[in-house]
């Protein structure tokens, strides 16, 4: 069966930088699996995620969704047409729309009745059907992420990408909410790729983990395999290391 | 909401502007005027009463009105151009915006030196630009000619309007025609040597003299008349300069028929009407100017200034020499 996502020899270097953000990375994501992109900050995980989504263009290599090439030397399918859902780090919910209309945003092609049904369905899936009339600033961190996920799922995309979805959630609640997210993804039957810098999250939630360091793929394996047999010294060190809580972005309380 | 606004705006625009152009059946004369007509309205109303022709004004400064007329080209709706400076009329004629008119009435009513030799424009009112002085600090016997203001005794006592003002430009232009460029430039340099205070308009000059900031100045006569009408005891009077030496400088408010008018006959009729003694009296009365027609009555306050010998040089010289006058004023540093 063709993998959901195929990344082939993708390299991306930002202008003015000698270091490659993503350096000749190749991997495949199987249908229905949850892949975690794990690594320290600057490892290139978010860049790789954005490359798959289409917000960035690779300098070399190719990316395919199913059997369809979406990025290569000759092809660049724009974000709007890749059919990939994206959950942003801080949710990026539209502040001027309530949750219902946020979720419905991508459903303009449906009739009114169908749209409402779909919104309800997805909201139930994400356990936020009681929050549909709320606005972004009236939601907690966890609720916000579930709403963002519901919005990304609404269109029935087969692939959903998540950029550090739990970093905005209170530490003690992370694993719980993470498990909820994974449950939702499973129920929706989608393939998901999740970026995180927290190895506990990755190991607990993902089907497979891809460890990145300075743009290179260090190891790609199931959580058990990684723990049992780290492929490189870096992987071993990274798993053993204690992580300090992430610092909030400047300007935010 | 915004969409609705936009949707309604376009028909609203179309409707509004469709209504604007006048679609009257009666005869209408369009006058492009730089006379602030809040003083001459009665005379135009009279014209309408007598002839049934309605008059519509497009007002502005001399320059704005001219530029607009120029830009409109042969599709302008202007029938008559009415301005407050001879130079402006000269320029309009030069640009081909006016057309020559042969009218025995006009030629009889308006003296030759107050109209264009080619018949492109005619004065309808006359304003004299002469020396004004403080009755408290200056005796008329101390005054004689424009050039006399260059005398040392007036150092620091003169207020002049800016040379940006078209009235001053016309004054100097006429002087160049009457006395020659060299003499005029010498006069200007002498004035400047007396360090005059430069003000932005004639009324401030008069008020400055009254308040004691200076003792003499040069203004149009009707500004004084207007002030006198409000404050009869104003301690400022006018002195007719250059008597026996070429005559006091006069400028005109005049009118011409536009080149592309579609109502030529009516336009000429308006001009002829304005030149009649009766209309002249009403016109001059409203603005304290001198009538252009010598047979018309001079308004009272203006008449109280006395009679004088006007410049012998035709007012057409104001336009012909204006550019040179401006350059001369630049050279001598007259701001």
């Amino acid at each position: 069966m063709t993998p959901a996502i195929t990344v082939s020899g993708v390299t991306r270097r930002f202008a003015g930088s000698t270091q490659c953000a993503v350096d000749d990375v190749s991997l495949q994501v199987d249908r229905g699996e949850l892949l975690a992109l794990l690594g320290p900050s600057g490892a290139g995980k978010t860049t790789l995620l954005r490359l798959i989504a289409g917000f960035e263009m690779p300098d070399r290599g190719s990316i395919s969704v199913g059997s369809r090439v979406v990025a290569s030397d000759t092809v660049n399918v724009p974000v709007e047409r890749r059919g990939i859902g994206f959950v942003f780090q801080h949710g990026a919910l539209f502040p001027h729309l309530d949750v219902r209309r946020n979720i419905a945003f991508g459903l303009g092609h449906l009739g009114q009745v169908e749209r409402r049904a779909r919104v309800d369905e997805v909201a139930r899936l994400a356990a936020i059907d009681h929050l549909l009339d709320r606005y972004e600033h009236e939601l907690s961190g966890g609720e916000r992420q579930r709403a963002a996920l519901a919005r990304a799922l609404a269109r029935g995309n087969e692939i959903v990408l998540l950029d550090e979805p739990l970093s905005n959630v209170d530490r003690p609640l992370r694993l719980g909410i993470g498990t909820e997210l994974r449950q939702i993804l499973r129920s929706a039957g989608v393939t998901a790729v999740m970026v995180t810098h927290d190895h506990q999250e990755a190991l607990a939630l993902a089907d497979r983990v891809a460890l990145l360091n300075r743009g290179r793929l260090e190891q790609l394996a199931t959580p058990d395999e990684i723990v049992a047999a780290p492929a490189t010294q870096f992987v071993a060190d990274f798993l053993a290391a204690r992580h300090s809580p992430p610092r909030p972005a400047p300007g935010y309380p | 909401m915004k969409r609705h606004l936009v949707r309604w705006a376009l028909p609203a625009i179309a409707l509004f502007f469709a209504v604007l152009p006048v679609t009257a059946q009666e005869k209408v004369l369009t006058v492009y005027s730089s006379r602030s007509h809040y003083g001459s309205e009665p005379v135009f109303e009279q014209f309408t009463r007598e002839t049934g022709i309605r008059i519509e004004f497009f007002s502005g400064n001399n320059n704005e009105v001219l530029e607009r007329l120029r830009a409109e080209g042969n599709r302008t709706r202007a029938d008559v151009l009415l301005t407050v400076d001879a130079g402006n009329l000269w320029h309009a004629a030069e640009l081909g915006l006016l057309q020559p008119v042969r009218s025995p009435v006009l030629e009889a009513n308006i003296p030759a030196h107050l109209r264009d030799p080619n018949g492109n424009w005619f004065a309808i009112a006359v304003r004299a630009r002469s020396i004004v002085y403080s009755t408290e600090r200056v005796r008329p016997s101390e005054l004689s000619t424009y050039a006399g203001l260059g005398d040392q005794r007036w150092r620091g006592r003169i207020c002049l309007r800016s040379s940006n003002a078209v009235y001053n430009q016309s004054l100097i232009a006429s002087m160049i025609a009457a006395k020659g460029a060299d003499a005029t430039e010498r006069m200007l340099r002498a004035w400047m040597a007396n360090k005059p205070t430069i003000l932005s308009s004639d009324t401030p000059v008069l008020q400055a003299i009254a308040a004691g900031q200076c003792d003499v100045g040069i203004t149009n006569h009707y500004y004084l008349a207007r002030l006198k009408a409000q404050q009869p005891v104003l301690p400022v009077s006018i002195f007719w300069a250059d008597q026996g030496n070429g005559g006091t400088h006069v400028n005109i408010s005049g009118a011409g028929v536009t080149r592309h008018t579609r109502n030529r006959a009516e336009a000429i009729r308006l001009l002829e009407f304005l030149s009649t003694p009766a209309a002249q009296a009403v016109l001059a009365n409203g603005s304290h100017e001198f009538p252009a027609n010598p047979a018309a009555a001079v308004p009272p306050i203006t008449a109280s200034f006395g009679t004088f010998e006007p410049q012998t040089v035709g007012v057409v010289a104001a336009g012909a020499n204006q550019a040179e006058a401006v350059r001369m004023m630049d050279r001598v540093g007259y701001r």
Binding site: H96 | K2, F16, F17, L20, A208, Q322
Partner: protein, 539 residues
């Protein structure tokens, strides 16, 4: 609406601004060495110097006033602060020209103030003359500081004030934190406000002439109407535009390294001042308002009463007001739309070309209104003639003037002149919308058109309102251009003011001037209530 359409329209708008300028340049192609020689020999150096001095003076004056007041109001609590916050904007409603003739009438030798000094106090010594560099700079600073004030205020409260708290927790005194943090951070906003103020100063003719202060614009008029040379006047206007371009370029240069972060999500508390200082702050604000607004408005009221009693109020006042309202509303819609297109294109298509299109609009702001008017007239001449010959060939009749008579010409000219104002206001609002929202929309299959309509536009509502109100005030005040291109028989309040002042009839000019100030003040009060840029974007 697609990106392609937006791009096209934005190019059209930029062309629209450049065309009148281009036409003036084109008509100014014939050499005029002789006139230039004369100008250089006589007055040009002095006029250029005067213009430079004026720009520096107003820049400093409006800058210090605008920044100082913005800081007071953004950082501190003192009696009346909430009211001062928006009242300090209202001097924007006063046309500079009107402020000018009020100032001169009040403080000139023959005016009431000096009369009182002489007669009442017996003082006969030296009094600072109002018709001087000082007089013009002071008056213009008081009328133009709101541009700086408005933009600086938004910048201070959004980013600077929270950072001040951080700095103070690190031991910095408030004043030192202001100098070292707030001011540099707010620099792009301050520069943007100064750019607007200086452009207005550069292109102003009416105000400087009331003070007898001769600048470059004076030269343009002198050559145009004094020496009957429209070509040389056009060349001088180009020199003026070069000045403006330099100003624009330096504003851009000062913004080059600043990246705009989205707005912080909390508002800092205002620092209360000790009673002595608090009252001093209130005093400063009151003093500025007194001099910039209350006294001039009071004089206008007095003169208006005089004028009404003398019966010189024009009988067509209802028509005047209706005309003014109509043209203001229509022009505002058009101008805001133009600014919106420029801002949207810049966001949706980040290429440098489309970013510079927005800056072209600033050129329109810097040109004297009458120069734009002549350029526009030249443009309409050809277009109108073309249309006319077409129509006459079809119908056999020569139509009257279309573009000017319909008022389209006037609206067009307003767009050329004021797009910069709406663009600057909208750009500030757009920058507060995080890019993540754009990306979220794209991940939900929204193309540029849908993104603009369903994400940007709703979130720009406040900025749109703010831009609209600012533009409306500008259109209300504009005089020289309106005079030249207005449709026949179409008088507005501004036209009325201009006409009355041709013969220095200040008193008769007071009622329409007062009307302009009042309407403008109402609009600015609305700006505060409905669209205050200080409010967070919650809904």
């Amino acid at each position: 609406m697609t990106l392609r359409a937006l791009q096209l329209v934005s190019i059209v708008i930029a062309l629209a601004v450049l065309l009148p300028l281009g036409l003036v340049a084109w008509s100014a192609l014939s050499p005029r060495f002789e006139i230039w020689q004369h100008l250089i020999d006589t007055r040009l150096p002095e006029l250029v110097w005067n213009t430079l001095r004026l720009l520096v003076g107003v820049g400093l004056g409006a800058g210090v006033l605008g920044v100082g007041l913005a800081w007071l109001v953004s950082a501190y609590r003192f009696p009346g602060r909430d009211q001062f916050a928006w009242l300090l904007l209202v001097p924007l409603a006063m046309p500079a020209y009107v402020a000018g003739f009020v100032a001169v009438a009040l403080f000139d030798f023959a005016g009431p103030v000096q009369q009182w000094l002489r007669d009442g106090l017996g003082y006969t010594g030296w009094v600072p003359p109002i018709r001087s560099w000082g007089g013009v700079v002071l008056t213009m600073s008081l009328v133009f500081y709101p541009y700086v004030y408005l933009l600086a205020r938004a910048a201070f409260s959004e980013r600077a004030v929270p950072m001040i708290e951080a700095a103070r927790s690190l031991g910095q005194s408030p004043l030192s934190a202001f100098w070292r943090l707030s001011l540099p951070l707010a620099r792009p906003a301050i520069a943007a406000g100064l750019a607007l103020a200086l452009m207005e100063t550069l292109g102003d003719f009416g105000t400087v002439s009331v003070f007898g202060y001769d600048a470059l614009t004076t030269a343009i008029y002198r050559v145009w109407f004094g020496m009957f040379d429209r070509v040389a006047a056009g060349q001088l206007a180009l020199v003026l535009t070069v000045f403006a371009a330099v100003l624009i370029w330096s504003e851009r240069w000062s913004r080059r390294r600043i990246r705009h972060a989205p707005a912080g999500s909390h508002r800092a508390t205002l620092v209360p001042l000790s009673p002595g200082r608090a009252w001093a702050a209130a005093g400063v604000c009151s003093a500025v308002l007194l001099v910039a607004l209350v006294i001039p408005a009071g004089v206008l009221v007095k003169w208006s009463i005089q004028a009404i009693n003398a019966g010189s109020l024009a009988s067509n006042y209802p028509r005047l007001l209706a005309n003014t309202a109509t043209v203001t509303v229509l022009a505002t819609m058009l101008v805001v739309l133009a600014g919106l297109v420029l801002v949207l294109v810049r966001r949706l298509d980040g290429r440098r070309f489309f970013r510079s299109l927005g800056e072209v609009s600033l050129l329109g702001y810097a040109m004297p209104g009458s120069v734009i008017a002549v350029g526009a007239l030249l443009m309409f001449e050809s277009v109108d003639n073309g249309l006319a010959s077409l129509i006459s060939r079809l119908t056999g009749e020569t139509p009257p003037l279309l573009l000017i008579a319909s008022g389209a010409g006037l609206l067009f000219a307003y767009m050329v002149r004021f797009s910069a104002v709406s663009r600057q206001a909208l750009q500030a609002g757009m920058e507060r919308i995080p890019v993540a929202l754009d990306e979220a929309a794209r991940s939900l299959a929204a193309g540029p058109g849908r993104m603009a309509m369903r994400v940007h536009l709703p979130l720009l509502r406040r900025s749109l309102l703010a831009a609209g109100l600012l533009v409306a005030v500008e259109v209300l005040k504009e005089m020289p251009m309106t005079m030249l291109i207005r449709p026949f028989g179409f008088e507005t309040l501004a036209v009325e003011v201009w006409l009355r002042t041709t013969e220095a009839m200040w008193i008769e000019a007071a009622p329409p001037s007062l009307a302009i100030v009042l309407v403008g003040a109402v609009l600015l009060a609305l700006l505060h209530r409905l669209a205050d840029p200080l409010e967070r974007v919650q809904r």
